[in-house]
């Protein structure tokens, strides 16, 4: 059956199947759910999908997703402009923001270095971070990339780039997740947590 003669339900199922983790059966179930939905709600969903594509863009400073040219964090005069926290993806930025503890600025790399998959420095937004450091406001860059080989490679690469500028570079702590039983922690995590121990006040 070609695209022109397809009925709207089949077309919806085909579109839903393009989403990650959605197979034929799930797509069908979702399509029937959408079919039964009040027209107003369905329109709201369609509009939300369109808005995401049409109204959002990357912040010119930190590459966060934003409706404006500059995102709400970069535009906020109350945030601590002497600190930049570097993350691989916007989803991690939101996870950190949920803690409510960090009041500085962000920088999203939109990727990470991966020597195993051939992703190199050209695949991350590191140059724009260096350009921001040249403005002279920043005193500390906190690297919050994942504690994986890719994240470590990215952290080491960024440290090499930033060190010559004289800005302090720090890395978020490695260690035991809160609430975990130490008995079940693996050796690497335990060694890292010992290395990163600190004196109790």
């Amino acid at each position: 059956m070609d695209g022109t003669s397809q009925n709207p339900l089949d077309q919806l199922i085909d579109e839903l199947r393009k989403l990650p983790g959605i197979g034929r059966k799930t797509a069908q179930r979702l399509a029937f759910f959408l079919l039964k939905m009040p027209a107003e709600e369905a329109r709201g969903l369609a509009q939300a999908v369109l808005d995401v594509k049409e109204r959002l863009r990357f912040c010119r400073w930190c590459n966060n997703i934003s409706e404006e040219e500059v995102c709400r964090f970069c535009a906020d005069p109350m945030r601590d402009r002497t600190r930049i926290l570097v993350v691989e993806e916007t989803s991690i930025l939101f996870a950190i923001e949920r803690t409510g503890e960090y009041k500085g600025l962000y920088h999203v790399l939109v990727g990470s270095l991966s020597p195993l998959d051939g992703r190199g420095p050209a695949d991350i937004k590191a140059q724009s971070l260096l350009d921001r450091l040249k403005l002279g406001e920043t005193k500390e860059v906190i690297i919050a990339t994942n504690p994986t080989i890719e994240g470590e490679a990215t952290a080491i690469y960024l440290t090499r780039l930033i060190k010559p500028t004289g800005v302090k570079v720090t890395r978020i702590a490695y260690g035991i997740p809160v609430g975990m039983d130490l008995e079940y922690a693996d050796e690497v995590t335990l060694i890292k947590s010992l290395e990163g121990r600190r004196e109790l006040a």
């Binding site: 195993l116 080989i149 080491i156 690469y157 090499r160 693996d186 050796e187 690497v188 995590t189």
Partner: protein
């Protein structure tokens, strides 16, 4: 349908679904295999750091049928090779090693020599400084154990011993050609100096500490690199 336990080295891992990982392992018992580790990306995952690339671990895998992906039941770290992760050049060297093993070996065929070579090779990456030389030596040995060892003592066309100044490496023939025979064929050839040929021969026979006593000039290293790149491209049908 069975559970089996084996030593393994993690070659690579990709994100799968919400919090799972599809891990490529080089196992001692079944060679290169792929296995799904459920929940491996959650903070309190039972696998912890065991499934990070380059980790040497002991794993318990569940194989339902050879056609279905294996499932990982348990992974305990034997050697984490932590120093590799602290240096970008060491990460790149180790990455090259696992890429080579991954590209050369088919799935499901045990190769104890390559398993042992990769395990000791990663240990060397942690402690040596001549990383480029280490990677080249690893490539030569890996080709040998995968069944692609180059013939370097004679010309592969006229069978005379290699003694001239002009020597060529022919990826298609898998070894050296003398200057006069090289003129008769049209396939791409890599010119190599007799010194480099001797070096290539020695690398296949020596242990790691012996290898690091060998001195290679930058020109020799460059020639070895060109020869290996051409050889890999011919074997794999694409550049590595």
């Amino acid at each position: 349908m069975s559970l089996f336990e084996t030593e393994a080295i993690v070659l690579n891992g990709i994100r799968l679904g919400e919090a799972d990982k599809l891990v490529t392992l080089l196992t001692a018992k079944k060679g290169k295999v792929k296995a799904v580790a459920n929940g491996a990306r959650r903070p309190r995952s039972r696998f912890g750091a065991a499934l990070e690339p380059f980790t040497h671990c002991n794993v318990i895998l569940f194989e339902k049928k050879p056609t279905i992906l294996m499932r990982m039941n348990q992974a305990d770290i034997l050697q984490p090779f932590m120093k590799i992760r602290e240096d970008l050049d060491r990460i790149n060297a180790a990455a090259r090693m696992v890429q080579i093993v991954s590209a050369l070996l088919p799935e499901g065929e045990a190769n104890p020599e390559i398993f042992s070579l990769l395990r000791t090779g990663l240990g060397e990456v942690e402690k040596r400084d001549r990383l480029e030389w280490l990677v080249r030596a690893f490539e030569i040995r890996c080709l040998k154990h995968a069944g692609y060892q180059a013939r370097l003592d004679r010309c592969l066309i006229c069978h005379r011993e290699i003694d001239s100044i002009r020597v060529y490496f022919s990826p298609m023939n898998g070894g050296t050609l003398c200057g006069s025979c090289a003129r008769t064929i049209r396939d791409p050839l890599e010119p190599v100096s007799p010194g480099t040929v001797s070096l290539l021969r020695l690398v296949g026979r020596m242990n790691w500490s012996g290898l690091f006593r060998l001195k290679a000039t930058p020109r020799m290293l460059q020639e070895v690199k060109s020869v290996m790149d051409a050889h890999f491209t011919f074997i794999l049908g694409r550049p590595l």
